[in-house]
Each structure stands twice: as structure tokens, then as C-alpha cells.
């Protein structure tokens, strides 16, 4: 039955949010979006979180989307509000995160006149959105809103921006929201091509040293069970990309951790020595491959990805499969014969024993690695970790064993510092039942530190762990290593973050030793509400293993 009720643009948007199951949105109002906020007033079912910078709103929506593997919403006004969203939009694009960004725009008669707070945000965001719209008439709005959600979450997910002029929020229409969307230029792939899948099964059967490389696509398509079935059935070791962390239980005997520039030594060696890569939902990013010419020199590559443009973008592929990972594995797994790879696994296990990259160094000093390991021990792995960018991000992935899907999030593609704090808030809002730890650096914290105000206001019980080494650590590491120790812009003079947290109304704790750190973590866990722990870690610890820029994975350097 088609509902031809007359509604304002603002109400249509709120109705679509509810239809799409969105019950929390993150934003900041402004002149052009005031009519939308006025409509929102009548929708108590939608909780609006007033963030303190639109960038925080964008990242919070990103975290919300990742935690639920569904669409998040961030909103801002026109002009400066919209441009403040640009970084989270670019980040969501790089990481394939489904977020609908709703921006206000100056009223239609003013568009193109350089009106107050006017920015051509659809023009600005063309290369960093999956799709964007400037809504010129309220009659288009129901279709566009429905389309925006459909495009954001389907196929390879991504950000969609809907720019709504002030008068369009107020205009009325009886145009209903379409039940479904049919776009002749957009047909996301289902399962891959059967013939290719049969060929993949043959290669897997012939391989003596296979490796599964699991990426973000496994999580997006929810293929955890299928991945595990494939790995166990044919006894294939599994390594993951950064965004693939959580795809496969990291304490499983077939798990060999994360690959890449700061991946596990044994994971990098496994890929360098294997004869077959089964790549599932990944894009062979340069931080994953090292020097491409020497990437997996002995291996044939099966590449499953839903985006045809990722196939053969970076590495030549023996078997290209354009398709959804889950749907593809459901066809592939029955075609794969049960198998064992005893010698290969012995070799990899020996590497893991002799090169335990996942263990903190046996130091008395309080190292940044300890901070993450203690959080792992205190939570018994039952936590979601949201990492920022830099050394803290790498240690957060290395020193914690992630057992379950959707438990580790990080802005791996764009690598925007300042991600973790607001994103962790979005994650916590989406998953109120979970313990959420934000692992950030002293540099990254200060990029969006204003969001502590929203965290306090809404009592979002995130545990914020600041890995405070008084440096932009990765910058210091690179300047020491590649610029003859000429430190420039790497050192940070910081405030007392525990006191800063207290001033925001958040419990602040400072920990300077291993014992204090353990104690602070248990205090934070026991406290019912947001806590910030300022972990004063060793200032000079560098992050290893490391594949130097331009080097191959086989040349991984250890501590």
C-alpha cells in the first residue's frame, strides 16, 4: 500500500532513517540545517548526539556503521559544517564504510551566488563519495534518501552524501518513499563466476603451501563461518590484513596474524614462501604488499573481491573472481577437498616460535606494547578495540588477540589521526553491551579531544587509553631511521591528560609503570562510565617488525 501522506522534506528524512533502522545520528546543527533539526524534534525515537566538531560526528557515524555492519548517519550544516565532514567522508571511502552524510545547503534561490555559508559540497566530494546528490526539489527527496541508503550498504559499501537546501527541508510533497531501488547502471555482484570458482578449487587442491589472506570483505559480507570452514577443511593457514583483523580467531592454530608493513614476521614470511594465495575481500594495499615486484614471488593468486576494479589493480591474478566473499565461499567450500599441509604448517609454526612478533619485549620499563597486552589480559579479550593511527594502531593490532568479528576497528586506508576517540563513541553507542577501549596516541587524542565533552554529556562509557610517549611516535621512528635522527616536529609538549579529562567531567587516571598500568586498567574496567587513562610509556620504543618503504615482505626487519 502506498502512503501518499503529505510530508515535509525534514519528516521524510527522519522517516527514512527509521525505516532503515537508524536510531542514533551524530551531528552539529547550523543555519541551513535548522529546519531538519526542527523536524527531528518530533522524532524522539532517533537519538541525536551533538558532537563538538563535524569531523567527530563523521567518525562517530563511521564507528557506529562498523560496529553494526550497517549504515551510520552524520549530519552537518552547509559550508564550514560540510567541509569539516570531508576528512571522515574520505576515510569512509577508503575503508568502504557505509555512512550517509546529510548536509544542509543554502536555500535553492541562493545556490551559486556565493551566499553566506555556501560551499559546493557535492562538487568537493565527487572523488571521495560512492555517490552524492544535491536535492533540488522535495519531490526527489524520498527516492534519493532511499537510494542513498541502498548505495551506501550494497555492493562495495561506501559513503553517500545528500546535500539538502534549507527550503527543501521545509517544502512538502506527497511523493512516497519507493519500496525498492532499481538502477540500470548499478548491479552489485552476488556469488562469483562458477567456472572461476571451480578453477580456484582445483588450484587449492594442487597447492602444497597455500595461504588465505583475509581482508575487510570477509567482515563486510559476514563470511566468518565460511572462512573458518575453508581453512579447517583444507588445513590452510590464515593471515589477515589490518581491516581483516577479527575475520578469524587469532588464537586458532591456523591463524598466523596480520601481514604488512608492521605485520607479524611469520605472516610476512608465509606470504613470501607460499605457492598459492587465496585473497578474500582485500585490495592488496601498498602497506600490505611491500615492494609489489617481489610480493609473493612463488605464488599464484586467487582474488575474490566484489569490486571488479580491484582485480589486477596491483597484483596479477591467476583466478579473478568478482563476487561477494560469503556467497562465493558457499559455492567454493563444497568443491574443495579435505586436505592436510603438515610440513607447511610445521615450517610456519617454527617461524612463529622463533620470531614471536606478538609478544612484548621482556623489559622492566613500561613499554607501549605492555599497555595493549594488559588491556587484553584484563578484558580476557572480551572487548572492542578502536585504534587511532600510527604506532598505537600497529601495537593495538599486534598485542591483542582478536577472537571475534567486529572487535577491532581502525581507519587503515586514509589513516587520519583523531579517528579513534569519536569512532569509539559511535561503536559504544551501537554496542552498549560491549566494553569499548579506545587506543590512541597523545598526538591523535588532541586532534578530536573536544569530543570528550560529548562523551561526558551522554555518559558514553568508552575506556580511553592514551599511549603517551610525548612524541608523534611514528614520525620520530621514521626520522630516526630514515632522516639521520634529525627530529623535526616529532616531539610533543602535552598537558596532563588525566586532569584534562577531569575538567571535561570524565574520570582521569595517570599510570607511569607496569604495575600502575595494570591497576589503572582494572580501575577503568570497574568504573561505570567513561574513563581516560594516560599511560606514560617509554618514549623511545619503536614499532617492529617493520618492512621499510620500498622493501619486500621477505626483508622484514625485527627489533
Amino acid at each position: 500500500m502506498i502512503d501518499r501522506k503529505v510530508r515535509t522534506g525534514g519528516s521524510i528524512i527522519c522517516d527514512v532513517f527509521l525505516e532503515e533502522g537508524v536510531t542514533a545520528i551524530f551531528g552539529m546543527p547550523g543555519g541551513a540545517s535548522l529546519p531538519f533539526y526542527d523536524a527531528l524534534y518530533d522524532y524522539p525515537q532517533i537519538q541525536h548526539y551533538l558532537m563538538r566538531n563535524e569531523q567527530g560526528a563523521g567518525y562517530a557515524a563511521d564507528g557506529y556503521a562498523r560496529a553494526l555492519n550497517s549504515v551510520g548517519v552524520a549530519t552537518s550544516t552547509s559550508g564550514p559544517g560540510a567541509t569539516n565532514l570531508v576528512t571522515p567522508i574520505a576515510s569512509a571511502m577508503m575503508d568502504s564504510i557505509p555512512v550517509v552524510f546529510l548536509t544542509g545547503q543554502v536555500a535553492t534561490p541562493f545556490i551559486g551566488t556565493d551566499a553566506f555559508q555556501e560551499t559546493d559540497i557535492t562538487g568537493v566530494t565527487i572523488p571521495i563519495t560512492k555517490q552524492n546528490y544535491l536535492v533540488k526539489s522535495v519531490h526527489e527527496l524520498p527516492r534519493i534518501m532511499k537510494e542513498a541508503f541502498y548505495l551506501a550498504r550494497s555492493g562495495r559499501p561506501g559513503p553517500v552524501l545528500v546535500d539538502v537546501p534549507k527550503d527543501v527541508f521545509l517544502d512538502e510533497t506527497d511523493e512516497p518513499v519507493p519500496e525498492s531501488i532499481e538502477l540500470r547502471g548499478y548491479k552489485p555482484a552476488g556469488a562469483g563466476h562458477r567456472r572461476m570458482i571451480r578453477k580456484a578449487a582445483e588450484l587449492i587442491g594442487q597447492s602444497e603451501r597455500p595461504v588465505i589472506m583475509a581482508g575487510h570483505g570477509v567482515a563486510i559480507s559476514g563470511a566468518f563461518e565460511e572462512l573458518r570452514e575453508l581453512a579447517e577443511k583444507a588445513e590452510i593457514p590464515v593471515i589477515t590484513t589490518l581491516h581483516g583483523v577479527g575475520d578469524f580467531p587469532e588464537t586458532h592454530p591456523l591463524s598466523f596474524g596480520m601481514i604488512g608493513m608492521h605485520g607479524m614476521y611469520y605472516a610476512n614470511m608465509a606470504v613470501s614462501e607460499c605457492d598459492l594465495i587465496i585473497g578474500l575481500g582485500l585490495r592488496f594495499d601498498d602497506r600490505v604488499t611491500g615492494r609489489v615486484a617481489d610480493f609473493a614471488p612463488k605464488a599464484k593468486i586467487i582474488h575474490v573481491d566484489i569490486d571488479p576494479a580491484e582485480i589486477e589493480k596491483v597484483v596479477p591474478t591467476a583466478v579473478p573472481i568478482v563476487g561477494d566473499v560469503k556467497a562465493t565461499l558457499q559455492i567454493l567450500n563444497p568443491l574443495v577437498s579435505a586436505n592436510t599441509h603438515t610440513a607447511w604448517l610445521e615450517e610456519l609454526n617454527r617461524l612463529r616460535t622463533n620470531h614471536p612478533s606478538h609478544e612484548p619485549p621482556p623489559n622492566e620499563e613500561f613499554l607501549p606494547q605492555h599497555m595493549v597486552r594488559y588491556i587484553y589480559e584484563a578484558t580476557e579479550g572480551e572487548a572492542i578495540v578502536v585504534a587511532d593511527v600510527g604506532q598505537n594502531q600497529m601495537w593495538a593490532s599486534q598485542m591483542f588477540f582478536y577472537e571475534k568479528p567486529y572487535t577491532f576497528f581502525s581507519a587503515g586506508g586514509l589513516g587520519g589521526m583523531g579517528y579513534a576517540l569519536p569512532a569509539a563513541m559511535g561503536v559504544q553507542v551501537a554496542r552498549p553491551d560491549q566494553t569499548v577501549w579506545c587506543v590512541t596516541g597523545d598526538g591523535g587524542l588532541q586532534i578530536n579531544i573536544q569530543e570528550l565533552a560529548a562523551m561526558a554529556e551522554y555518559n558514553i562509557p568508552v575506556k580511553v587509553g592514551v599511549m603517551n610517549n610525548a612524541h608523534l611516535g611514528m614520525i620520530r621512528q621514521w626520522q630516526n631511521r630514515f632522516y639521520n635522527g634529525r627530529l623535526m616536529g616529532a616531539e610533543l609538549i602535552n598537558p596532563d591528560f588525566a586532569k584534562v579529562a577531569e575538567a571535561f567531567g570524565i574520570r582521569g587516571i595517570r599510570a607511569e609503570t607496569q604495575d600502575e598500568a595494570r591497576d589503572a586498567i582494572s580501575q577503568a574496567m570497574e568504573f561505570d562510565g567513561p574513563v581516560l587513562v594516560d599511560f606514560i610509556v617509554d618514549e623511545l620504543e619503536d614499532c617492529y617488525p617493520m618492512v621499510e618503504p620500498g622493501a619486500s615482505l621477505a626483508e622484514t626487519v625485527e627489533r
Partner: protein, 181 residues
């Protein structure tokens, strides 16, 4: 326009505002150089046809095609670089011509099946509809007199031959079909 090292793609796109910008932005962002670009209506209402001549061949063009497909408004892309096809381009060429030179220019235009569409005191405008290669040859010869002004539409092209089946080219697209299998 030399055709060596160039590829020709035909894209059918939704006739929405901003589509040309999206295509142009994509080419800039991914580093594909456009040699010529022509946009106009197609035989189907609501669908525009773009003829894009790009520098590069092989894998580079395959990537370009895949990225074009990723644009929601792009309905179909065909690489017709190696197809048997009709290539046409229209050029208006203003050529300097005083007195006796005038008849030489007219003769040159006639030799290329061109048409003199304007005659001034010291210049003529020649309209030429031909393949880009033929237009290049004409321009080279006209250069002896002096080309004062030039405008070209860019290549438009169409594969030769009969219609195999009466089906809309739009319906021909299958997801994932734009890669080797």
C-alpha cells in the same frame, strides 16, 4: 590527431546533471589523459552517449573501463578501439587566403570533400567531416596557407554492421562482466 597509442571507449550514461563532471573527475583523479571527449544524446531517451579517446592501451584502459563502470550513472562501457567502425569528426577551419590563394584553398577543400561555409576578404572557413586522420592530413596541407582558427568536435564513432538481436544495449550489461573470465 594521431591514433597510435590511443584507445576509444563508448560510454552510455544517465543523462543527469553532474555526470560529465564525475567522468572528468574520475579521469583526472586516476591519471587518464583524454585526447578527445564527445557527449550527446543517444537513441534511448534519458541516456547520453560519450565517445572518449584516451591515451594508453591494454591494462591501463581496462582499469579505466572498470572505474567508469563504478560510477552509478554509467550504464555501459564498450572498448571499441579494435572494432570495425565508422569514425567521424567535424572540423571548422579558418584559413588565411588572399586573392589568388583563395581558389587554391577551395580546391584543397574540395579534394577532401570539404565545404567552404564562409568567405571573407582575407580568410575562408572550411567545414570538414572526416576521420581524425583525414582531418590531420588536411590541416597539415592547409598549414601552408595559415590556419588562423580551428575547432573540432572530437571523435564520434559507431561499430559497423547489422544489428544481431533487437536488444537494448543497456540491458546487455551484466555485473562483473567487465573483466576477463
Amino acid at each position: 590527431m594521431k591514433t597510435e597509442g590511443l584507445s576509444t571507449l563508448v560510454a552510455l550514461v544517465e543523462d543527469n546533471p553532474g555526470v560529465l563532471t564525475k567522468v572528468a573527475t574520475l579521469f583526472r583523479r586516476r591519471g587518464f589523459n583524454i585526447a578527445s571527449l564527445n557527449v550527446g544524446h543517444s537513441e534511448q531517451p534519458g541516456i547520453s552517449r560519450m565517445t572518449i579517446v584516451i591515451e594508453g592501451t591494454g591494462a591501463h584502459i581496462k582499469q579505466c573501463e572498470k572505474h567508469l563502470y563504478k560510477l552509478v550513472e554509467v550504464v555501459k562501457v564498450v572498448d571499441i578501439t579494435n572494432a570495425d567502425r565508422v569514425d567521424k569528426e567535424l572540423a571548422l577551419v579558418k584559413i588565411a587566403a588572399h586573392g589568388a590563394e583563395r581558389s587554391s584553398v577551395v580546391a584543397l577543400a574540395q579534394a577532401f570533400d570539404g565545404e567552404v561555409v564562409d568567405v571573407g576578404r582575407n580568410a575562408l572557413i572550411v567545414q570538414l567531416t572526416a576521420s581524425p586522420y583525414t582531418i590531420e592530413r588536411f590541416l597539415s596541407l592547409a598549414g601552408d596557407f595559415g590556419v588562423v582558427e580551428l575547432t573540432r568536435t572530437g571523435l564520434i564513432t559507431m561499430a559497423r554492421g547489422d544489428v544481431r538481436r533487437a536488444r537494448s544495449p543497456v540491458a546487455a550489461r551484466r555485473p562483473g562482466s567487465n573483466h576477463k573470465e
